[in-house]
Subunit: 131 residues, 2 copies
DNA sequence: CTCCAACCTGGAGCGCGCTCCAGGTCAAGC
DNA sequence: GCTTGACCTGGAGCGCGCTCCAGGTTGGAG
C-alpha cells in the first residue's frame, strides 16, 4: 500500500522523473525517503502531494506559490488559516481565468462561424467582420 | 477612423509597445505602415489582427501557429479551408483545456471545503483526505 | 528654431519550468 | 559474480514569449 519506485511514482502522478527530482530539489516535495543505497521511495503521502501539485499547476499557480503552500503545511496546523486563504485567493484567480477563457472561446467560435458562412460571398482579406 | 500611433495601438490592443514590435519582427503583423520618417502607423485592420491574436494567445495558441494562420491569410482566399481547419482544431484543444480547468477547479474547491470543515476535528499533516 | 517625449533599430537578457547530460552507483535476475 | 537497466548527482541548456537596453532619430508643441 506504500513505497513506490521513482518510475512508478512518475507513472502514477503523470510527472516525469526529472520533474519529480526537480520538485524535490526546489523544496516542493521535502524529505522523500531513500533506500540504503540512496534511491528514492515515494509514499502514498508523496503521491497525494503530487496530485495536489498537479491540480495547482494545471490551474496556473506559479511554483513559488506552491512552494509557499507546502512550506506552510510543513510548518504545522497553526498555518491552516493562511493555507486556506491562499487557496481561496487562487480559486478566485482561476474563476477569472475561466471567464476569460470562455469569453475568448466565444470569440473563436464566432470567427469559425464566419468561415462556415463563407462559401456564399466573397470575403475581405481578413479580420474585421466585427471581431 | 484609421491610423494609430504605436502608443495608441498599444493602449487599444493591450499589448506593450515592445510586443507590437516583436510581433512585427517575427512576421505576425506584416507590413505595418510607416511615416516618411519611419515611425509606425497602425490601421484598423492591424488592430483587428491584434484582437484576433489576443484571442488566440489567451486561449493558448503558440505563436508559431498564429504565424502560420496569418501567413495563410496573406496567401489569399484559397487558404480559407486550411485556416478554418486550423481554428476548428484549436477550438477543440480549447474545449479540452476548459474541461481540464473545470475539473481541477472542482478539486481545488473540494480542498477548500476541507479547510472550511476543519475547525471541528484535528487534521492530519496534509493531503490525503481523499483528494 | 528648439525642445523633448515618443519613436526607431539590433541585439542581449530574462523568468519560468522544466529537460538533458555525463559520469557514476545500485540492485534484481540469471 | 555478472550483467543490465533503473537510478543517482550537479550543473548546463532549452523553448517560449516577451522585455530591456543603448544609442540614435522624429516630429509636434511652444
Amino acid at each position: 500500500m506504500s513505497g513506490y519506485a521513482p518510475s512508478e511514482a512518475a507513472r502514477r502522478s503523470g510527472f516525469s522523473l526529472d520533474t519529480l527530482r526537480y520538485y524535490e530539489k526546489i523544496g516542493l516535495l521535502a524529505d522523500v525517503e531513500r533506500t540504503a543505497g540512496g534511491q528514492r521511495v515515494f509514499t502514498d503521502d508523496d503521491l497525494g502531494w503530487l496530485v495536489l501539485f498537479r491540480c495547482l499547476r494545471d490551474t496556473g499557480m506559479p511554483i513559488a506559490q506552491m512552494r509557499r503552500y507546502a512550506q506552510l503545511a510543513r510548518d504545522g496546523e497553526h498555518t491552516a488559516d493562511e493555507r486556506h486563504e491562499l487557496l481561496r485567493h487562487h480559486a478566485a484567480r482561476v474563476e477569472e481565468q475561466m471567464r476569460l477563457l470562455q469569453r475568448q472561446y466565444d470569440h473563436l467560435r464566432e470567427k469559425i462561424r464566419f468561415y462556415e458562412r463563407l462559401p456564399a460571398a466573397a470575403p475581405g482579406p481578413e479580420p474585421g467582420h466585427g471581431t
